[in-house]
Amino acid sequence: MIKKEMIAMLLAGGQGSRLGVLTEKVAKPAVAFGGKYRIIDFPLSNCINSGIDTVGVLTQYQPLRLNTHIGIGIPWDLDRNVGGVSVLPPYEKSQNTDWYTGTANAIYQNMNYMEQYNPDYVLILSGDHIYKMDYEVMLDYHKANKADVTIAVMPVPIEEASRFGVMITDDAGRITEFEEKPEHPRSNLASMGIYIFSWPALKEALTALKDQSNCDFGMHVLPYCREQGKRLFAYEFNGYWKDVGTLGSYWEANMELIDVIPEFNLYEEFWKIYTRGDIVPPDYIAEDAVVDKCIIGEGSEIYGEVYNSVIGANVRIDKGTVVRDSIIMQNVYIGSDSTIDKAIIAESVSVGDHVCMGCGEEAPNVLKPKVYGFGIVTIGENSVIPSNVKIGKNTAIKGETVLEDYPDGELASGGVIVKEKEGERS
């Protein structure tokens, strides 16, 4: 009989709509991060570094990039004879065929996957956080407490606690109550969305709640477990952990990598982060180029000036161009004499010459002010920006734009251009 002590279920099906055009064609876990990685690399690397070799990745929204990235799991050593990584999309059943309607529902629909490994424990992860964590230590804590459920929590400033699910614990760490995004939080222990369940407790809860609509861990499963008198414990984590759910936090998390000694250090020898990288050559920095306080992925050629930025692999920045405070993903080309200020430019974008990005006064975004804020210019993947245009702050562009799309050669602050290619499916 196949037997795995603990398997991981990684929830990677969410859209991440607050990342705007970045996640239009890509699930959030597949969005590039830190010059060469994708967000899902962090939980996947944590798994293999923690000795977990069986990982189910639940996909639903725009899974193409994610599927290609994960493949059979070679970069993470998750190509195994027994176990390894399995991509688990929703599937048709003889009855009750359904999309994944909630986090717990998605896990419930993959009961058969989990059962074939006879696990003692199941680790539930989400694919949209940046952190390094040893899940084995968390499992030891779970065992020592004879817990049914262990929830990883992080102390946050009390004024921010209302954005999270908050755990109220007794002295032993046992959770007595919890509140989902409370107005007046009674504790500063925020749930990180990482759970270890003892398998019988998980199976029992999911089966009992199988008819719950939009069944969700935070909203339904955890309250159910508590009501049933199960032992719920909070596992306090004090390392770096960042939710990159908004353009602002995504930008910030990237920028934190370029400090001299960053709080989240990718350069440590142990606890490596693995990714699929098919670009091998070194960077080329030209004679008159400036690279100051930045990280640059493999194979990029820099002829211009780059300050305070995170640049992906195989990017070319031409002469006279100045890039500041920006995130540029792989395969981007930027022409000469352009100015790029505080922009997030997704993969395979082409920017012309004499473009000014991020100029002018701030103005709220006309379409989605809550998404496109923070003064950031966001360019979706495969977009084309013509030469000689000005693009203001809090803007978003997607598609192959031409000069005519910019009245007077300008997209004012707060503006949006979305151009669908003919025959393209959104």
Partner: protein, 371 residues
Amino acid sequence: MRALGIILAGGNNYKMRELSNKRAIAAMPIAGSYRSIDFSLSNMTNSHIQKVAVLTQFNARSLNEHLSSSKWWDFGRKQGGLFVFTPTITSDNGYWYRGTADAIYQNLAFLKNSHEPYVVIASGDGVYKLDYNKVLEYHIAKRADVTVVCTESREADTSRFGVLKMNEDSRIVEFDEKPMISSSNTISAGIYVIRRRQLIELIEKSAQEDRHDFVKDILIRYKNLKRIYGYKIDTYWSNIATVESYYQTNMDFLKPEVRDYFYRQSPGIYSKVDDLPPAKYNSGSVIRNSLIASGCIINGEVDNSVLFKNIFVGNNCVIKNSIILNDVYIGDNTHIENCIVESRDTIRANSYHCGEDGIKVVIEKNERYVI
């Protein structure tokens, strides 16, 4: 599959000076993120040659480590694969490889048990791109017994190469191995195409006569008896087996056309993936006309240099016209000029190294304290 591949990677060369003290030439790092043997291996896989034997002997540890998995070059296949043959003692042979022909002779079973009609033999110390199928087609069209890939030498002194002359039909009429005075500027690139049965026959005959070198004892000896043709290439080709040419080959990658040819044009060159983070350029770093590989952290000044993977350059350093091999830590205020710094080295702060006349090879065996 029309051909199988053999890569000769066993050689040593005193012209590499101290650089070959710890590795075979085929394992020399090239162009920031490659090893020399990656070029021949990638050419094999890009030419759809799926079965490749690498013959290693001298200082093979670092090379074997690099070849620990065949997946990087896509040789991890059920049909074919990557075979690494080091000398072994058998009941009827107790010798090391006594030469290139002997190396093949000692692994003749590999040739005999294959069914591919042709063999492509390449060396592990060439930096080039070549579609071996084109050579093979030429070989068949010329009804040649052996085809030798050759090129015009970029170095004035050709005395370290096989120098040859062809007639108007491209048949090789003169062939001198490492001549004192060379009569031609056309040199052998060390890449051969030959029919598998022909190769087995020639190798067996040489072994009986106690002759062990493929060039001297087969090509040169048979050149009037067999139809030996030259296939001339005019694309980039470089042999790295001297310190000077090794240095020059790496510096060539600072030219945009060389980078474009090897880094961007398809088909590409593959190498082992090291899972290193992207290069990091801290405030105050100044980089001019240089290649910086992944995992590097730069604080000082780097000018006209090639930095391989995982190098730390401290504050106020000046690295000029130099090549720094993998995993080197360079302490603050260090000056390095016209040097090749050996891999895994630790250069203490305030050091000064400058190659006054020619390239200086820097090997300091300082201990590194890691926290």
